[in-house]
Every structure is written in structure tokens, then in C-alpha cells.
Amino acid sequence: MSVKEKNTNGQTAMPKLKGKDFASDQDVRWCPGCGDYTILKQVQNLMPELGVPKENIAFIAGIGCSSRFPYYMDTFGMHSIHGRAPAIATGLKVTRPELSVWVITGDGDALSIGGNHLIHALRRNVDINILLFNNEIYGLTKGQYSPTSKEGMVTKSTPMGSLDHPFNPAALAMGADAGFFARAMDRDPKHLNEIMARTHEHKGTSLLEIYQNCIVFNDGAFEVYTDKQRRSETALYLEQGKPLVFGNDADKGIRLDGMKPQVVKLGDEFSESDLWVHDEKDHFKAYLLSRFFEDNRHEDKLPRPFGVFYDVERPTYDEMVNLQVEAAVKKMGKGNLDDLIAGTETWIVR
């Protein structure tokens, strides 16, 4: 489409952009069938809905397959160095708070080499959106285990099985006092789009973990949750104010037995009114939800939650930095360079 159209007065008016207006002229070079394609498409589809001028959007990425993402977006973008995108985004957002700043990262980038920056961004609460593409493997370096790979996983660098205990990104985020954590999956684009919009809406650091299939090195890692046939038994879709129900016939639910979540069969003994009602403003419940993280290869106990776990706003770091600047100007007036140069004690040599 043409970006501009003439209106009846002969003046130009900006028509609403479409998803494809956010596609850059670069060929996308992920492996055919990679989960990244869906995510890219959903991000591009979401952009026109944000009400943010295109030139005010910036995508910052680190290193890895997912981090090529900015090259495919027709926005401002930076493909930086491994793990550092949250820190770069922090500098950008603090100095340009009017921009919509997105970080694209993967499980290696965010949780291994860049783990420090991720937790500090979360605790500071810089108003940025972090999309963490988790495929539980190193793709770009061709198949080594990642900090989210399951214990015992045989990879190129772990021929006898991985000894590393994996990170639980949700629990990590809650531990770092994140104001927003959500999870989505590449195989459910509609839900992904919806949750991405929520990620953007939240003011503060928003972390969205996206289960993304690496078709070459870790195919099917999340199939137990993402496969349309099995999903309803294994995935728990969170909805604000709704009881935690799942199952093929919506016949199961989660109930709290004291502090302990328990899967119950709905029927004679339990009804929906006995179930845990999702409240994304409840810190304690979000902590519990983050622990729904059992190894899905074992006999299933708790379903894996998808949706918004936690969404509570507190003042953002960028906002507060700039409020301090305003307060300083208000208190001391605009700085006078000559006063600063001269300092408090001077003398004259004649």
C-alpha cells in the first residue's frame, strides 16, 4: 500500500499502517519452519495497533537466532552484542522516554551471558518490553545446551547428558521483582498477539517468555503444550478473574489446598467455585504460578500456565530519573556553566 493518500482537500493524511508496513526490505533468514517466523509476523501485526508513530519504535537485540529480529523490522533497530540488549535499552529509554523500546532476546542471550542485565532491568523497572524467545537450545552456534535445557539433555556439548539444572524464567522474573511476567507460545499466534499487546500496555519492564520451537536442534521441545491435540490437557490458559480450569472437556481445575496447588476433577466433589481464581495483581499467587514448572517428561502433575502471571505497576526507572532532573532544575535552576567552571573559591592574579 502507499503510505500516503490524498484526501479530498488535496492534503495528505496518514492512513493506518498495516503489519507489512513494518517489514524491512531484508530477506528473513531463519530456518524454514522456525518458530521465529510466527513471532515476527505477530509483532509486525501488533505494531499498527499500538498508536505509536513508527519512528518512535526501537528494537534492540543481542546475539543469537532471535536477535536477528531487528533487521526484519522497519523501525529503528540495533543488533548489538551478546546479552547486553537490556542495558542498551536502558540507556536509550532513560534518555528518550517517549520511545517504545523493545528487547528481543533468547534463552542463551537473556539467561546465560546476559543474565545479570535481565535481572537488573527487572528490578529497576525500566519501561521496556522484553520478548524472550525460549527454545531451550543454542541454535546459532549449532546445538549446544542452553540454561533452560532440561537436565540430562543430550546435545553437541553434552554427549552424556546435561548436568545443568535449568532456569525457571518465571520464577527468576518473580525473584527479581518483575512487575510483569507472561508466557505465550509460537504455535498459538492469536493468544501470542493478545499477550504481546498486554506486554506493551504494561508500564515498566515487561517480560514475555515465548516458547519457540527450534526445528533443527530441539524440535518438539514444547510440543506437549503446543500441540493442538494435547494442549488442552497440558496448558493452562490464565484469564483475569477466572478460575483455573483446563482439560479436554474443561473438566479439571486447580484448587489451593492451603498454600499447595492441587489438580482436581470437576464434578461431584469439586465445582468451579472451589477453584483458584486467577488474579494477576496478586504477588503470592504469581509466585505459586511461577512454580508450575514440572518436567513434562514425567507423569504430569500441574499444567503449564500461559498468559499473564503478574501485572502490577510501580514507578518506572526512566520516569524517576527524569523526575529527578526536573526536581534538580526546579530547586537549583538551569545550571550556569560559568558558575560551575568558577566553583566556590577563586582568586585574582594581577
Partner: protein
């Protein structure tokens, strides 16, 4: 009582005491008063490495040296004429700095049995008697007793009374050097304006010390140091880190671009963070990041957004930032990297000075990563050189390394400061907004200096991607094309080299434009080399001094200068780093090194010897 006043051309005093004795304050007060009296001067604090080293031990000794005179002063002095010691440990740690026949003013009270033990003197030692027999002059003051006596009516608790001991000593020294107590009285009254009883006590102790100097017969003579022949103007005293902070504020104002400092605390660079964090009303934002890498990358993010990105650290922190610095070079964004060097390698000696990060600055990155490097020559010069570093970064879209060091950072000197209207504007070229029908935007299109334009997010139609991957010429798209990579590697190097057309030519700092020996230095050796060259020339040698402040690229006329001398001597507080660069770029010349790596500045006398030896090559 009339004591003879002897006139001195220059004097060096070293104040030394326990960390808690207030020696830094005493030294800085003496400095201000001396500056107001019109002397030229140079100072250097000598901090203990530990914040709270055990009281009374040698490790806990804090010192402050001031060299002042009626002549031009370039260094804090190789050794001192007067050593003021508050306890036995201070004497033990500092006696080596006292000239033969020098005077020790000792707080006798700090030489009790316990003090001698803590200072690790033997049971038979009586250091005060021993120094007297070694030909030093000794003045014993029972400072604690005298201070307490002067404040017996103050009503203050003993702890607060004893805190005034340094003021009593300062009063004695003021008397000895015929100084006015008034500037310190004003300072104390202002500092303790909310605690008038403390202010009164300090002033009383100061005046009591001054009176005691005159009333006793401890001193056989007093000294006076006349005002120096200093270029007329308005002056202030300034340390290197302070000058760097003010220089950055000046660059912010003269470029009209906000400054963002991303940093992580490290000795001896942290004062730059402390200083800038107070300047929020000067369009300056500071960010104490989670680590050195976040510090530099946040500055890169700010630079991408249109701010002057600055990061500050010391050698070990710079090593951590290296990958990100190369990214900024590759992105061609303005970034200023401040390295306040300290003695390395690894953790090294954090509070000691060294010039051993030059090769790291010029070459220390993966791949071909050319960037600009400048170095201030003295504390006050930090103002001009950090302004220059900012100008080069912003006007040439390139990372610039500013190489200060611990000696410059903490040393102080009088500064004839400029007016802001005397400073040149910094001119940045931005990419202009585009309409949809305009030609495609090329982020890596260059002007005749090979500089690309700054395309700031928020500018309509300039949406573009930059990254660390090799980029195609002009478009900035990812490219693995062999010829393109060759071309881009050379473009980036040439762009850096072109800066030579936009920096001042090299000057001769001391001596004639041609002669026998040229002494080439950089960084904090400026004062020592200048003083040494002056000294040897008085002795009849034809030596000159050229101090290189632009290290990458070098000024264009360097070779012309080299060609006018028979011998070129390159003294450095490292194992020979500038000399390697000079040998590489000027292979037809012979360079002789003089290298001492002791954590302290060169002594003028050792440099004089080195120059005299070189003159016989």
C-alpha cells in the same frame, strides 16, 4: 618575640597522619590559603588503599603533599622540606620523602609506646631521637595536650575536642609560613554553619596553633614564599577528576546535546560519577549500572538515542568494556570512554598511578577497531582535553578514549579558567527527516571526512538498523562480501586517521624548536618532564619537551619536530608503550626509552639524569 623570616623560592610540605587525623582537609586548606597568597603550586594526596585500615598502623597512613613557590611549579615535588607527622606510623611511612636536613614537625603524643608498637618500631627504637641524630630538624608538639588546653572551656566532649587537632597543627604551619588564617576561618564557619560550637572550636584551635608558633621558641626561623609571577587572570584550584566533570558539562552546553554517563564505581575514576551525579540541572543524567559492561552498553544505547554517551572506569573495567567499545566503533556512534589509569595489571595497585593502558586504548580490541585516543597532561588540562574528546566523538561519530590517570585525577593545581563564551561550539550533523517518496535512507553514507550522519530515533522516515555485523558500504545492510569487508576496514581506519586534520599541531612545551635532546612524553609526566627539561637547560643542555596530548591519531607535524633533534627520549611510567607506537609509525627515527614503574610519578631529578645520559648518546 622576633624570629627571623627567611625567604624561600619554593617549599614542599608533606602532611601525614592516621586516616582519621584529617590530613586531606589540612592539606587542602593549606593549598587554598597558599593559592590565595599568589603562589604557584601543585599537590598530590597519598591515600591508604584501605578505607579504614587499623588505626595507628603504617597501612592506615594518609598523606598530602604540596609544592608551592614564587617560581613556576610543575610537580608536587620529589621530596619535602617539611614533614608534618601526627603519629609514629606516619613518620615511618614518610621519612623517605624528607630531604636531607629537612624539618619534621611531630605530634609527640602520637609517639607513645602503643603508637610505636603499631608502627612496628622495635622496643629499643626512639624514632624522634633517632631522626634528630640523622641530621633532620625536629620540632616536637604535644598536639593533643595543647589542643585540649585551648578548648578546655568549649564544653565539647573530648572526642570532638580531639578532632580539632589538625586545626591546631595547621595554625602552627600557617605561622611558620607567614600565612593568613582567615581563609580557613571562613571555610570552617561555612562548613559547620549548622554546628556553630564545632565551628568555634576549630577556629579556636587554629588560632591557638598560630599563637603557639609565635609564643614558643620551638622555631628558630619562619619562612615566607612570595607570590609567583603568574599570568594575570582569575584562578581556582582544581583536581583532574573535577576538571573532567566540568569539561563534560561544558561539552554538553556547547554541543546542545544531553549527556548520559553509564558507569560502575572503580578507583580512581569514581569521583567523575560523584561529580556528574550532582549536575542534573546541566542536562546530565548518570546511571550506576550493574557492571562495567552494562555501564558502557547503556551509554551506547543513549548515544543511539541522540545523547553524548559517556562511560568512565579504570584499566580493569575498560578491559570488560572492550567488546562494547568495538561495537560503538562498528556502529559509528559517538561514545566517550574515560580511563583513569591505575597501576596494573589485574587489580594491581588501585590507588597508585601508571600509564600502562595506552596500548590497550589504541589497539586492545578484537578485529581492526580504530578509535581516537587523547590524554590530558595535567589536572587542569582535563577540562580542555575532555572537551576535545567529546568534540571528536560528536563531530566524527567515533568512540574516543580519554586517558587520565590516578596522579592527574587526584592531583590539583591552580587553573586559570576560561569563560564559557570563549569555548567553541561543537557541531553535530544529523540526518534529516524523510518523506515516503524520498530516496531510500542510507545510514552509512559518508561526508568528505568519511563521517556518517547521526540518525536519531523519533526522526520521521529514518527507520534503519545498525549492528555489530559487517555492513555494506552506504546501506549498512549485513554483508559478507570479501571486497566490501576490505573496503570497510580501511574506511573505518581512514576515518579515524582523518581526525588529524581537525586537531591542533604539536607544540614544543619547553625549550627551543630544535636542539640536542627532545623529550617526548604523554599524560601525567608533563610536569616532571617540563621541570626536568627546564633544569637541565639551566645547566647548559639544549633539551626540549614535546608533550603529545593527541595519541591516536597523532598530530600531523610530529615528524617535522622529530627531525630537528639529535636524540629522542621517551620517558613513560610503563614498560615502553608510546615508544612502540612511535617506532611503528616513524621507523626512520631512533627512540630511547626511560621507564620506571613504581606507582608514583617520576622524580624530576631522575628525569634530569635520564636526559643528561641521553644527551651523550
Amino acid at each position: 618575640m622576633s624570629v627571623r623570616i627567611q625567604e624561600k623560592e619554593d617549599v614542599t610540605i608533606r602532611f601525614a597522619g592516621d586516616s582519621g587525623d584529617g590530613m586531606q582537609l589540612t592539606g587542602s586548606q593549606f593549598t587554598n590559603t597558599t593559592a590565595l597568597a599568589g603562589n604557584d603550586l601543585s599537590t598530590l594526596p597519598d591515600f591508604p588503599a584501605e578505607i579504614r585500615a587499623p588505626q595507628g598502623t603504617v597501612a592506615g597512613v594518609s598523606g598530602f603533599q604540596i609544592h608551592f613557590g614564587s617560581k613556576a611549579i610543575h610537580t608536587p615535588g620529589d621530596s619535602c622540606d617539611v614533614l608534618v607527622v601526627m603519629n609514629a606510623a606516619a613518620l615511618k611511612a614518610n621519612l623517605k620523602y624528607l630531604k636531607a636536613g629537612g624539618i619534621i614537625i611531630a605530634n609527640e603524643d602520637g609517639f607513645g609506646k602503643r603508637d610505636l608498637n603499631l608502627a612496628k618500631y622495635g622496643p629499643e627504637d626512639n624514632p624522634l631521637d633517632q631522626v634528630q641524630t640523622s641530621g633532620f630538624g625536629l620540632v616536637r608538639l604535644d598536639v593533643t595536650k595543647l589542643t585540649r588546653a585551648s578548648l578546655q572551656d568549649s564544653g565539647l566532649p573530648p572526642k570532638d575536642v580531639d578532632r580539632c587537632k589538625n586545626m591546631f597543627v595547621l595554625g602552627v604551619i600557617y605561622w611558620l609560613f607567614s600565612r593568613d588564617v582567615k581563609p580557613t576561618v571562613t571555610f570552617v564557619e561555612k562548613k559547620f554553619s549548622k554546628k556553630p560550637e564545632i565551628a568555634d572550636a576549630n577556629v579556636t584551635a587554629l588560632k591557638a596553633g598560630y599563637a603557639y608558633g609565635g609564643a614558643t621558641e620551638l622555631f628558630s626561623e619562619r619562612y615566607s614564599v612570595n607570590a609567583a609571577q603568574i599570568e594575570p587572570g582569575t584562578y581556582r584550584n582544581i583536581t583532574g577528576n573535577e576538571a573532567a566533570v566540568i569539561g563534560l558539562a561544558a561539552a554538553t552546553e556547547k554541543s546542545g546535546i544531553d549527556l548520559f554517563l553509564g558507569t560502575y564505581p572503580i578507583t580512581p575514576a569514581s569521583d567523575i560519577l560523584h561529580g556528574l551525579s550532582k549536575l542534573k540541572n546541566y542536562n546530565i543524567r548518570t546511571f550506576q549500572a550493574e557492571d562495567e559492561i552494562a555501564a558502557v552498553t547503556s551509554a551506547i544505547g543513549a548515544a543511539f538515542g541522540g545523547s553524548l554517551g559517556v562511560t568512565s572506569s579504570s584499566g580493569p573495567g575498560i578491559a570488560l568494556k572492550t567488546e562494547a567499545i568495538a561495537l560503538a566503533m562498528m556502529l559509528e556512534l559517538p561514545l566517550l570512554i574515560i580511563n583513569v589509569q591505575r597501576a596494573g595489571p589485574s587489580t594491581g595497585m588501585p590507588t597508585k598511578t601508571e600509564q600502562s593502558d595506552l596500548l590497550q586504548a589504541v589497539y586492545g580490541r578484537a578485529g581492526e577497531s580504530p578509535l581516537a585516543v587523547v590524554a590530558p597532561a595535567s589536572p587542569a588540562d582535563c577540562f580542555e582535553m575532555i572537551f576535545e574528546a567529546s568534540r571528536i566523538a560528536l563531530e566524527h561519530m567515533i568512540p574516543v578514549m580519554f586517558l587520565s590517570d590516578g596522579y592527574i585525577a587526584n592531583g590539583a593545581e591552580p587553573w586559570k579558567f576560561p569563560k564559557s563564551s570563549d569555548l567553541k561550539d561543537i557541531n553535530v550533523s544529523y540526518a534529516k527527516p524523510r518523506e515516503a517518496e524520498d530516496e531510500a535512507y542510507l545510514p552509512y553514507l559518508r561526508d568528505d571526512r568519511l563521517v556518517r550522519k547521526w540518525a536519531i530515533p523519533g526522526t520521521k522516515g529514518l527507520e534503519h538498523r545498525i549492528g555489530g555485523l559487517e555492513k555494506e558500504d552506504k546501506t549498512g545492510n549485513i554483508s559478507y562480501d570479501p571486497d566490501n569487508h576490505h573496503k570497510m576496514t580501511h574506511l573505518r581506519a581512514q576515518k579515524r586517521d582523518n581526525i588529524a586534520n581537525f586537531i591542533p599541531e604539536q607544540q614544543i612545551d619547553e625549550g627551543a624548536n630544535s636542539g640536542k635532546v627532545l623529550v617526548v612524553g604523554w599524560g601525567s609526566t608533563y610536569g616532571s618532564i617540563k621541570a626536568a627539561v627546564h633544569e637541565v637547560n639551566r645547566g647548559g643542555l639544549a633539551a626540549s619537551h614535546a608533550h603529545i596530548r593527541y595519541l591516536s591519531p597523532f598530530p600531523k607535524n610530529l615528524e617535522t619536530i622529530f627531525s630537528r633533534f639529535d636524540v629522542i627520549l621517551v620517558p613513560e611510567i610503563n614498560n615502553g608503550q608510546l615508544i612502540k607506537m612511535l617506532r611503528d609509525q616513524f621507523p626512520e627515527y631512533t627512540f630511547h626509552g626511560y621507564n620506571r614503574i613504581t606507582g608514583v610519578p617520576f622524580s624530576v631529578s631522575s628525569l634530569c639524569d635520564a636526559i643528561e645520559r641521553a644527551s651523550k648518546f
